[in-house]
């Protein structure tokens, strides 16, 4: 290689050295993901059960037949235990209600009853407004999971209230057998899937 070529190539090399620095990466991307499970919670506290014991006391009135004020007695004795606040993360929760008749183990006889039927009603506040009522009569089979018309209202207040009415013996004139009686209302609020 002659001098001229060497000189030119040297000049070209210097040109290469003085060109700007090569581009670096100036941005990066990170992804964050997560999940919230479908679930129903009792507030406050995020537990999953509510309820109370309603001790109705004497079920018979003076003439031996079923007392006629059991509906109002149920509410006043149950009090705040019949009110609850439940929220579900899913959009269409379901509510199932089963009223179990109030019975005594003592066998009955003609003219008597050892069983008191009733209707349980669960009133639920939904969004944006309104109340859905899911009921079950102890004379019937359980009310299966029933979709609500919207999400359960979440506004800081209780959104469930339980009442009972239509208490009755199988025959209206039945006297009540003496003894202790028990019944129950089962409610399941499940996230709809």
């Amino acid at each position: 290689m002659d001098k001229f070529t060497k000189l030119a190539l040297a000049a070209l090399s210097m040109t290469l050295i003085t060109s700007p620095a090569e581009a670096q990466s100036v941005n990066g991307t990170v992804d964050i993901t997560g999940s919230v499970a479908p679930k129903c919670l009792v507030l406050p506290g995020a537990g999953n059960s509510f309820g109370t014991l309603v001790a109705l006391g004497e079920l018979a009135q003076a003439d031996g037949r079923l007392a006629t004020d059991l509906s109002s007695r149920f509410s006043s004795i149950g009090g705040t235990g019949l009110i609850a606040r439940v929220v579900c993360t899913s959009a269409n929760p379901t509510v199932a209600v089963d009223a179990l008749e109030i019975t005594s183990a003592t066998p009955s006889t003609t003219g008597y009853a050892n069983r008191v039927d009733f209707a349980a009603r669960v009133a639920l506040s939904v969004t944006p407004s309104g109340i859905d009522t899911i009921s079950n009569d102890s004379r019937n089979a359980a009310t299966g999971p029933t979709a609500l018309s919207g999400r359960l209202a979440n506004n800081g207040d209780s959104n469930i209230m339980i009442t009972a009415d239509t208490f009755a013996t199988p025959v209206a004139t039945d006297l009540l057998v003496a003894g202790s009686y028990t019944g129950r209302i089962d409610i399941v609020i499940a996230p709809g899937l």
Binding site: G51, G81, S90, V116, R184, D186, I189, P191
Partner: protein, 186 residues
């Protein structure tokens, strides 16, 4: 190879479904109540008015107790007991002349005795007025219905003449529930 993978994936799905049982909120309202043992007479009293107790006429028995007036008299009360351990008893009180004080003269009577039965729920309690106090208490159990009271065996101590006057008596039927408080009715 592909088949094996599919089965494995299905297994995973099944496991996931089992584990994904979503948390529900459960409400349980327990209800309890009681009915106290009680008995009640819904028809608590009846009256037996027999009128003239003595035989009429002029025969040897005139003026003495006409047993036909009392024997066979029956009245029906009604009541109920709501407990299986209820009991019944009856007390027959002698028919006594209330118009005459003191012991009657010889040959005369001021007291008539009789037997009373009380039938309820297919059991019968009995008593005689010759002895003070109620007869034996017997179980009557859970019932609602008639309590039939029947008079029999009327007599006087000596068969003498009945002193004139007003004779009164009571037959007391007692229904008792299992517990001592709670309203036994007479």
């Amino acid at each position: 190879m592909r088949l094996v993978i599919s089965l494995f994936a299905s297994g995973l799905l099944i496991l996931s479904a089992d584990r994904a049982v979503a948390q529900s909120a459960t409400g349980i309202v327990e209800i309890d109540g009681s009915v106290a043992d009680r008995c009640l007479f819904t028809t608590p009293s009846e009256t037996i008015s027999v009128g003239e107790l003595a035989l009429g006429g002029t025969g040897t028995q005139a003026g003495r107790l006409d047993v036909a007036k009392l024997n066979g008299q029956t009245r029906t009360l009604a009541g109920w007991c709501n407990g299986t351990a209820a009991t019944i008893s009856v007390e027959a009180m002698p028919l006594i002349n209330r118009s005459f004080q003191g012991a009657p003269p010889t040959g005369f009577e001021t007291r008539i005795n009789y037997n009373a039965d009380a039938l309820a729920n297919r059991v019968t309690a009995s008593d005689t007025s010759t002895t003070a106090g109620a007869g034996t208490t017997i179980p009557v159990g859970l019932f609602t219905g008639d309590v039939v009271v029947t008079v029999s065996g009327s007599s006087t101590a000596t068969g003498g003449l009945l002193v004139a006057g007003v004779y009164t008596s009571k037959i007391i039927v007692t229904l008792t529930p299992n517990v001592s408080f709670g309203g036994g009715s007479k």
